[in-house]
């Protein structure tokens, strides 16, 4: 029989090693897998994407900006550009360079794959908002054109990704909408979120934490250089102008239609109180949204909070003669107009 102390220590060491190798995301094994994916092709495609981004935003791409974006040295970027020029994807003219027609088409296909994959993650999987962008950055390089078309067809040829960016069509057509940054919206003008910038990550995480989502109605109550105060999704939010600038809006007609009213959250009803459903927030997608609609939670439906569970979450609601338990996270996404007792 081996000494128990020694065998414990050995087991402990093995566990540590296993954790070191297989820790989710940061484990050595996963890092190795990721680095294996970082092939020449990935760098080329990321370079094309970067140049394309610069062109859209009217910035001049430089060797330095490329090196910063791809995390490569200047020499490596120079040789990368040489290869791209040889393949006639980029035209180099002294210190300036720009995409050729085929280079732009290539870049648009990568962007198409990226945004379709984000749409797929949002609609058909359980991954949270914070993971969409990072995963799409990996998968955009791995999908073949045939797979991309199949994915698009399966998702119903969506026009926009979940952040509100347009998805290029298979023929490379893309139309950007005019949008107003939240930071410059006048007070009391109804508007709708059409875009949420997903980079930088920290800013995006803050917007996600506020519960903001493309498609939500917004009404600003106070706009100053210190802070923007606004109502959305039944709550009042406060953001710094710098952060609010990452939310793009389109104006709504002065008199909002029924489904654009702000309303309250379903969770604001106490047991016994009732309201009429305005709609489900755009944040609910895919299976989750369909399930609630299957249960008859639709615009115009009368809904009553009938009882809370001992812990208060979930609560049971009467809808169309049935008693249905919903968790607060779901009920928060159902907007209602409070109604007084049936009279």
């Amino acid at each position: 029989m081996p000494n128990p102390l020694i065998s414990l220590l050995v087991a402990f060491a093995i566990t540590l090693l296993a954790v070191w190798f297989f820790r989710p995301e940061r484990g050595l094994f996963w890092r190795w897998q990721r680095s294996r994916r970082m092939t020449e092709r990935v760098f080329e495609e990321d370079a094309l994407k970067h140049i394309h981004q610069c062109e859209i935003h009217d910035r001049r791409p430089t060797v330095k900006s490329l090196a910063g974006s791809l995390n490569l040295s200047l020499d490596e970027i120079a040789s990368l550009l040489e290869k791209l020029e040889a393949r006639q994807l980029v035209a180099v003219d002294g210190a300036n360079f720009h995409l050729t027609a085929s280079g732009r088409a290539y870049a648009l296909q990568i962007i198409r794959a990226h945004r379709l994959w984000e749409r797929y993650l949002a609609d058909a999987t359980g991954f949270g908002e914070a993971e969409w962008h990072g995963q799409a950055d990996l998968y955009e390089h791995e999908l073949s054109p045939a797979e991309i078309s199949r994915l698009a067809a399966q998702l119903g040829n969506p026009t926009h990704d979940p952040h509100g960016d347009p998805i290029p069509t298979a023929r490379g057509e893309i139309v950007y909408r005019e949008r107003i940054p939240l930071s410059s919206l006048e007070a009391n003008k109804p508007a709708r979120i059409v875009h949420i910038e997903d980079e930088p990550e920290a800013v995006y995480a803050q917007l996600v934490a506020e519960g903001l989502h493309v498609g939500m109605t917004v009404r600003v109550t106070e706009s100053s250089s210190q802070r923007i105060r606004f109502w959305s999704g039944g709550d009042e939010h406060t953001l710094a102008p710098l952060i609010a600038a990452n939310v793009g809006l389109e104006l709504l007609p002065e008199e909002p239609r029924e489904q654009d009213q702000l309303g309250e959250r379903l969770t604001s009803l106490a047991p016994g109180e009732q309201g009429r459903v305005i709609g489900l927030t755009p944040r609910l997608r895919g299976a989750e949204r369909r399930r609630l609609m299957d249960l008859g939670i639709l615009p115009g439906t009368l809904i009553q909070n009938t009882m809370n569970s001992p812990s208060g979450n979930p609560a049971a609601y009467s809808v169309r003669g049935a008693l249905i338990a919903l968790r607060s996270a779901q009920a928060d996404q159902i907007r209602i107009l409070r109604e007084n007792d049936e009279s």
Partner: protein, 478 residues
């Protein structure tokens, strides 16, 4: 626009341009308006009673069973009652079946084999191996299942079980699971295969997989007898006789509670790692209460649950019985296969605070947890060469007297540590083959079947290893 200049190209181009204007969510809006229209038509056609009844019985019951004060005590009382009825009620028919199938029919069959002149090894394989294992599984398994399943189905039919899920959902929500997992887990206390089937009530893919993978941590009917026996022999023996019953009962309950804790822990881990990307939705309907249809319930629960599970168990027990008998009877150089295996696994077993016999018993008894103890006894006799007990190589048996059993185990080198670790390993090891097969049928995925099979074994090995080392360290210091 003039008609003569419109070509298909133009139409396509107009469509392309309009595509960007319809908005990103037009599919959603279309679907929503279809649902809304359907609901409007339905509302026009259906008339509902004008006024609510003054006294709503359903709501009154609901307020009681979901109240802070009475909800949980009521639930515990009902579940305890169901378990008590099952255990107390199954005792007599189990003993009766065991007398009929094992003590009476088996010798008759064997005698019949001798009469018609079967060679001894065919006779042994058929009646000592295959028949005995199957009969054992039936006599241990059938009575509790025939009582537990109808009782459970009655509660379900009455509408009470969805309220249990409603009360408990908050706890399950925190570990990323569904409140209805409480139901499949409770069902798992009866039989894990039935518990896995019961996860069908969970309609969210992620939560259903969690419920399937963790169902094995609910101590099933086939493992209760092992727990009770070992607790009585080794843990009850630590204290004076009048406390023995209480202490051993408490230790078995502690193991079951530990299983529930493990199932929460594993649910938490799974929902945050491998299952993160699976689709998750929640909905739980609380149907109106209705008087249960007793006969229909008994019929469907006996047919759907009891017989199907029993049939699968028999299919797996038959070959297991053959393997057990053959492994003890095929010898090379005077040593049976079973003994080779035991000697091979003994060092690993001892390191884990178990022994080779227990590991071999768990390997050959994968088809049914019910036959672990009889196999352990038979193999112990085989290894120690104890005389006066047992019925020969490869023939499973159980002893009537506790003193005899303790003596046999002690001859096999068992200590209190062996007993504790056997109880832990009985909780944390792979599901029986019936359950594994059911998991495969329910998930249709080799990956999830493998994970549900290997994860508990791995945890069992880790836990018993850790307990054994710490135990020895403390024993060395004392």
């Amino acid at each position: 626009m003039t008609t003569q200049t419109t070509t298909p190209e133009d139409i396509l181009q107009t469509a392309q341009a309009l595509r960007w204007e319809v908005g990103s969510d037009f599919h959603e809006h279309l679907m929503e308006s279809m649902y809304t229209e359907a609901a409007r038509i339905a509302d026009r056609a259906i008339t509902r009673p004008e006024k609510k009844p003054r006294f709503d019985l359903d709501r009154t019951i609901d307020r009681l069973v979901t109240s802070r004060a009475f909800g949980f005590p009521l639930m515990l009382a009902l579940l305890t009652l169901v378990f008590w009825l099952t255990i107390a009620g199954a005792n007599v028919p189990s003993r009766w079946l065991s007398w009929l199938l094992l003590d009476t029919l088996q010798p008759i069959l064997k005698g019949f084999g001798v009469t018609i002149g079967l060679p001894w090894w065919i006779n042994g394989l058929l009646f000592d191996g295959m028949y005995l294992a199957t009969a054992w599984v039936i006599s241990v398994m059938l009575p509790p299942m025939a009582i537990f399943f109808p009782l459970f189905t009655l509660l379900e039919d009455y509408g009470y079980l969805p309220r249990v899920a409603f009360n408990l959902d908050n706890m399950f929500q925190k570990v990323g699971a569904h409140g209805k997992q409480a139901l499949s887990m409770t069902m798992g206390f009866g039989c894990n295969a039935a518990g896995v089937v019961a996860t069908r009530v969970i309609d969210s893919p992620r939560e259903r997989l969690i419920a399937i993978i963790t169902n094995n941590f609910a101590l099933c009917n086939g493992r209760w007898p092992t727990q009770i026996l070992i607790a009585t022999l080794f843990i009850g023996g630590l204290v004076p006789a009048h406390l023995a019953g209480l202490l051993s009962a408490m230790s078995v309950v502690a193991i079951a509670v530990l299983g529930v804790l493990f199932s929460f822990l594993v649910s938490w881990g799974l929902s945050r790692t491998v299952l993160r990307g699976e689709v998750s939705t929640f909905s739980l309907e609380l149907p109106p209460y209705r008087p249960p249809r007793i006969w229909q319930t008994i019929y469907t629960s006996v047919i759907d649950r009891t017989l199907i599970v029993l049939w699968r168990a028999i299919i797996f027990a038959l070959p297991a019985g053959a393997i057990i008998w053959l492994s003890a009877n095929i010898t090379f150089g005077g040593i049976s296969i079973a003994e080779y295996l035991i000697n091979f696994l003994n060092p690993a077993g001892l390191l884990l605070g178990l022994n080779g016999v227990i590991l071999v018993a768990y390997i050959v008894a994968i088809p049914a947890n019910e036959i672990v103890i009889p196999t352990v006894l038979m193999l112990t006799v085989l290894v120690t060469g104890a005389s006066g007990v047992g019925a020969g190589a490869g023939v499973m048996f159980e002893l009537q007297s506790n003193a005899e059993m303790t003596a046999l185990f002690q001859a096999g080198g068992w200590t209190l540590l062996t007993a504790v670790n056997l109880m832990l390993f009985s909780l944390l090891h792979n599901p029986c083959s019936t359950t594994i097969y059911t998991i495969y049928k329910e998930t249709r995925s080799l990956k999830w079947t493998l994970i549900s099979t290997l994860l508990p074994v791995f945890m069992g090995l880790a836990v018993t290893f850790f307990v054994a080392q710490v135990w020895r360290l403390i024993a060395g210091v004392l």
